[in-house]
Amino acid sequence: MNLIVFSGPPSSGKTSVILKTIEALKQRNISVGVVKFDCLYTDDDVLYEKADIPVKKGLSGALCPDHFFASNIEEVVQWGNDLKLDMLITESAGLCNRCSPYIKNVKGVCVIDNLSGINTPKKIGPMLKSADIVVITKGDIVSQAEREVFASKVSSVNPKAITMHINGLTGQGAYELSTLLYDEEQNIDTVEGMELRFPMPSALCSYCLGETRIGKEYQMGNVRKMDMGD
């Protein structure tokens, strides 16, 4: 089975891109399933179901979605095996832009959109910088100049990645992405023992553990202070 990890900021167009890409894969008789990770809410699973795509969703709730991803990905892969999928796609929204769910030797795709602002490539960490393919969406509603500037900013933080423009509404570019994703040679039936591409941030302060009171005496563990000058 092929495993592909999709990631990207909320509302960047991940689901639309994946749906259009699967449409192209289905025409080649490649069976695809999706597992959607989110934090508090998603109804994207309904969209996949409507398109007749096997889907599971996982809500991380009180946990960081990327940590949740790492602790569940093996079970997710087993689900894909059981369904005898040719390709399993995971989709997760990066929330703080610091983590990335990419796994070494598993294709990682980052979806970001032209509307998110010119400094976005600078703000997103490993989720963008360590992706193999960067998909830029919503190019049909910004000017050509903004598309070009945005793409050049992306390539300066991740020159190694293949950058593609995809229109999630018309699907322009999605067929092309599908040809880059499917690899007959790749056969992953477990991710046990594989490694994340980038360590997740070291957290665990009292607030991670449910503390709600504000004040010095309640701050414990990994606490860092802002430099406010004098």
Binding site: A24, Q27, R98, N114, L115, G117, I118, P121, K122, G125, P126, K129, S130, G139, D140, I141, V142, S143, Q144, A145, E146, R147, E148, V149, A151, S152, K153, V154, S155, S156, V157, N158, P159, K160, I162, T163, H165, N167, T170, G171, Q172, G173, Y175, E176, T179, F198, P199, P201, S202
Partner: protein
């Protein structure tokens, strides 16, 4: 291979100061990756990376190994990009037929469009215009659903057109496009010029604003925020900017709305900059300006029609009517009263 290897070793031995002198664009790389190299100009890039503490690396999610590798790739890409903009590149685009959605062969032999030429595209919504544009953008090689093949200068194109983020074959102008950046026209053009590595930034900006103002019904200046431009002004700026600053040799246009812009001059400007122009439109004035038009039906090119002499004569009449409407529009804008 050996040559590249020597080049990499030599480059990695340069100090940051030497790198910045030799390849000024690396400054952008340092900036975008938030690397503060100011105090380390006499070190090599690797020596600089070695100064970053473990805490700092963790704090800012830095991957030293990747940064060093990426710098190599970045410099190579930018060098290639500069090389390509020097040689003119694309002289012609050829489309070889594939088939429509039902598998029926497309109704033309081969279509070659030369630079400075306009071809229009007509067909109902959902007929396959997006697919045609995607085939061109991806330089299809009988490996897309339509089975079409795209040739550049009569030859199978280099794969770089597919994957390079700085050398896109196609620039697009669509009617939904808006400026979203919070910048003045000057700042906006400076940013675009910087990403294109233009040397004469001032001259280029002056040129664009001059051309844009020739197209726009109402003039604007460099200190206007781009988001405050009217629809017509925006379109004028986008077209002038695409004509002069965009590196893409092919321009795909999805309708140009009629209001506030001289569309004939806009097309003339693109053509004068050696662009190959493909324009999806159902506006007779635009469609007939092209000497040929592609008719799309059921996902395929049904036929290619040469604009007839009669149609060209009709175009002259249509332009006269259009001029009447435009002048009335201007009259109203200036507070005038219209007469029959």
């Amino acid at each position: 291979m050996l040559e590249r290897w020597i080049w990499v070793i030599n480059m990695m031995n340069l100090t940051i100061r030497q790198l910045e002198e030799k390849y000024p664009f690396v400054i952008g790389y340092f900036e975008e990756n938030k690397l503060d190299v100011e105090a380390h100009k006499d070190k090599t890039f690797q020596e600089y990376l070695d100064t970053l503490s473990e805490d700092y690396v963790e704090e800012w999610a830095i991957n030293k190994e990747k940064l060093a590798q990426d710098l190599e790739i970045y410099i190579e890409q930018m060098k290639e990009f500069l090389g390509i903009s020097e040689d003119l590149g694309v002289n012609s685009l050829t489309i070889l037929p594939g088939h429509d959605k039902s598998g029926k062969e497309e109704g033309f032999g081969e279509l070659t469009i030369n630079k400075s030429e306009i071809v229009s595209i007509v067909g109902p919504t959902g007929s396959g215009k997006s697919r045609l544009l995607a085939d061109i953008e991806w330089t299809a090689m009988n490996d897309t659903p339509t089975g079409r093949t795209i040739l550049i200068n009569g030859e199978l194109p280099d794969k770089k057109w597919r994957f390079s983020s700085n050398n896109r074959l196609v620039a697009q102008l669509s009617q939904n496009m808006n400026f979203v950046m919070d910048l003045t026209v000057r700042e906006f053009l400076e940013l675009h010029a910087a990403s294109r590595l233009v040397e004469d930034v001032e001259g280029t900006i002056a040129r664009i604003i001059e051309e844009a103002n020739k197209l726009a019904g109402e003039k604007f200046n460099l200190n206007t925020p781009v988001t405050a431009l009217s629809g017509g002004q925006s379109r004028a700026l986008m077209i002038a900017d695409t004509a002069i600053l965009s590196s893409s040799p092919i321009v795909l246009i999805d309708e140009i709305e009629n209001a506030g812009i001289d569309r004939k001059k806009a097309l003339e400007l693109l053509v004068s900059r050696d662009k190959i122009v493909l324009m999806a439109t159902h506006d007779p004035i635009l469609a007939l300006m092209a000497n040929r038009r592609i008719v799309i039906k059921n996902g395929g090119i049904d036929k290619i029609i040469e604009t007839s002499k009669e149609e060209k004569e009709l175009l002259v009449e249509l332009e006269k009517m259009d001029n009447i409407i435009q002048s009335m529009r201007n009259e109203l804008r200036n507070g005038g009263v219209l007469h029959a």
